[in-house]
C-alpha cells in the first residue's frame, strides 16, 4: 500500500472532521447545526472504517448520525421560530458584558487545558509499549466464546456485565422520557410517494436488521446495529403517519422494552442456578445463548429508540387496534381521520394555502 497516499487521505479526513465539528458548533441556526452534525457523524463512520473498526462504523452511521440526527431534527422542528436563530453572544444585558467576556475566556482556557491534558495522556499511552494483554486474552479465549467476531465476543460474553448495564441505561432513559409527558402528536399521513417508499423501505430494513443480527457472530454487525436499523423502520412508519410505529401496544410493549434486560437476567440467573457463574456461559451453549440474548436486546433497543423518537409516553390509540401492520399504510383517509394533524406539520401546504388566499384578496 502506498503510505503517502494513505497519509494524504488521513490528513484530509482529519481536517474534514475538525472543520465539520467547528461548523456544527459555530453555526447559529439550529437546523443547519443538526444537518452538519449528521454529516460529521457520517465522516466519523468513514474514520472508524479507516481505523479498522467496522462494527463501530456501522453503529455510528445507524445510531450516531442517523437516529441522533432524527431525534435532533424532531426537536428543532418543535422550537419556536425566534429561538432558531438565537444569537450566541446576546445572553445578558449590557451590564453583564464584561462578566460574560471573563466567563467565556475562562471556559475557553479550561477547554484548551483539557485538550492539552488529554493530548499529554494520549502521548503517554502511545509512547509506552502498547499493552496487548487484553487483546491477547480475547484472542486466546475466542474459541470458547461461541462467536468468532472478537467485538461481539467482548460485548456479549467476556464483558456481558457492561452490556447488561448498558441495556439498563437504555431502559432508564426511556422510562424517564415516559415520565416527562405524553408523546408528540402524530404526523399527518404522507402522500402516495412516501407511502410507497415506506412500503418498500420497511421490509428491507427489517430484513437488513435480521441479517446484521445473524452475521454479528462472525462478521461486523450485532444487536446494536440491528436494533438501530429496526428503529429506523419505526421512524419511517412514524413519518408516514403510522401512530403505532409497527409496535405492539400497552402491556406487550412494556414487555418488549424490558426484554433486553429481562433476557440477560433470565439467562444469568438460570446459569447461577445451574451452578455456573452469573453470565458464565458453558462453551457448548454459548453460541445459542448469545443469539437468544441478542435477539431480545435487538427488539428492546429497536422499541426503545423508536419510542424515544416520539419524545414521550405513547398515547393508546383506542380506535386503532389493528394498525400495527405496514399493510395499514394504504388506509390513508381512515388514519388521517383518527390521528389529529399537528399544527404546522406541513409548512409547504400551509404556505400554499396562504398564497392562494392572498391571491384571492388581490
Amino acid at each position: 500500500m502506498n503510505t503517502t497516499a494513505v497519509l494524504v487521505f488521513d490528513i484530509l479526513l482529519v481536517l474534514s472532521l475538525l472543520s465539520l465539528a467547528v461548523a456544527t458548533l459555530a453555526t447559529r441556526d439550529a437546523h443547519r447545526s443538526v444537518i452538519l452534525f449528521m454529516a460529521f457523524g457520517l465522516v466519523l463512520a468513514l474514520a472508524w472504517g479507516r481505523l479498522m473498526a467496522p462494527d463501530v462504523a456501522l453503529a455510528e452511521a445507524a445510531i450516531g448520525a442517523g437516529l441522533s440526527g432524527a431525534l435532533l431534527l424532531a426537536a428543532v422542528r418543535e422550537q419556536p421560530r425566534q429561538t432558531l436563530t438565537a444569537d450566541t453572544n446576546a445572553v445578558h444585558s449590557g451590564n453583564d458584558a464584561g462578566l460574560k467576556v471573563i466567563l467565556q475566556s475562562v471556559a475557553t482556557l479550561l477547554c484548551v487545558g483539557l485538550a492539552a491534558t488529554l493530548s499529554w495522556a494520549l502521548a503517554h499511552a502511545l509512547q509506552s509499549a502498547p499493552s496487548n494483554a487484553l487483546a491477547q486474552a480475547v484472542q486466546e479465549n475466542l474459541a470458547t466464546s461461541g462467536v468468532s467476531n472478537p467485538v461481539t465476543a467482548v460485548l456479549l460474553n467476556f464483558r456481558a456485565y457492561d452490556t447488561l448495564l448498558e441495556l439498563a441505561v437504555l431502559l432508564t432513559a426511556i422510562l424517564g422520557i415516559f415520565a416527562l409527558g405524553p408523546a408528540r402528536p402524530g404526523y399527518r399521513s404522507a402522500g402516495p410517494v412516501f407511502d410507497s417508499l415506506a412500503h418498500w423501505l420497511v421490509p428491507v430494513l427489517i430484513l437488513t436488521a435480521g441479517y446484521l443480527l445473524w452475521v454479528g457472530a462472525q462478521a461486523p454487525g450485532g444487536a446494536f446495529q440491528a436494533g438501530a436499523i429496526l428503529a429506523a423502520a419505526g421512524v419511517v412508519l412514524q413519518l408516514s403517519g403510522q401512530r403505532t410505529l409497527g409496535l405492539p401496544q400497552e402491556r406487550t410493549l412494556h414487555i418488549v422494552i424490558a426484554a433486553g434486560v429481562g433476557m440477560f437476567l433470565l439467562v444469568g440467573l438460570s446459569l447461577l442456578f445451574l451452578g455456573r457463574p452469573f453470565l458464565g456461559y458453558p462453551p457448548a451453549w454459548a453460541s445459542a445463548l448469545i443469539l437468544l440474548i441478542e435477539t431480545a436486546a435487538m427488539l428492546a433497543i429497536a422499541a426503545t429508540l423508536a419510542l424515544a423518537f416520539l419524545g414521550g409516553r405513547p398515547q393508546s390509540p383506542r380506535l386503532n387496534a389493528t394498525g400495527e401492520k405496514p399493510a395499514a399504510l394504504s388506509t390513508g383517509t381512515l388514519r388521517a381521520a383518527m390521528h389529529p394533524v399537528r399544527s404546522g406539520t406541513d409548512a409547504d401546504t400551509n404556505s400554499g394555502y396562504r398564497n392562494s388566499s392572498n391571491e384571492q384578496k388581490q
Binding site: 452534525f37 466519523l44 455510528e60 467482548v154 464483558r159 424515544a308
Partner: protein, 95 residues
C-alpha cells in the same frame, strides 16, 4: 511509529475541547446537546485511535466494544436530554 494513531488521537482531543466549550457557553439547550454529542465523538476517536494497531494487524477489540456501548448510551442520553428540554419549553414560565 504510527502516524495514524497520533493524527486521529490528537484530533479526538481537539474535538473534545471544542464540544465542551459549546456545552458550557451556548445559550440554546439544543446546541448544548449537540456539543455534548461532539465531545463524546472526540472521546470515541481517542479510544479507537488507541485500539488501532496498524495496517494488517488486528485491532484491540476491547476499546472498540467500549465505544459501541458508548454510542448507544450517548443516543439514549441525547433522547432523555431532548425530552427534558421539550418539557422545559412546555412549562408556562419558559414558554
Amino acid at each position: 511509529m504510527m502516524t495514524a494513531q497520533w493524527l486521529y488521537g490528537i484530533t479526538g482531543c481537539l474535538i473534545v475541547a471544542l464540544g465542551l466549550r459549546t456545552a458550557l457557553l451556548h445559550t440554546l439547550l439544543l446546541q448544548r446537546v449537540i456539543g455534548i454529542n461532539i465531545m463524546g465523538a472526540g472521546v470515541f476517536l481517542v479510544l479507537i485511535a488507541v485500539a488501532y494497531r496498524g495496517p494488517g494487524e488486528a485491532p484491540d477489540p476491547v476499546p472498540q466494544a467500549l465505544v459501541l456501548t458508548g454510542i448507544v448510551v450517548a443516543v439514549s442520553a441525547t433522547a432523555l436530554a431532548l425530552a427534558l428540554a421539550r418539557r422545559l419549553a412546555a412549562e408556562p414560565d419558559n414558554g
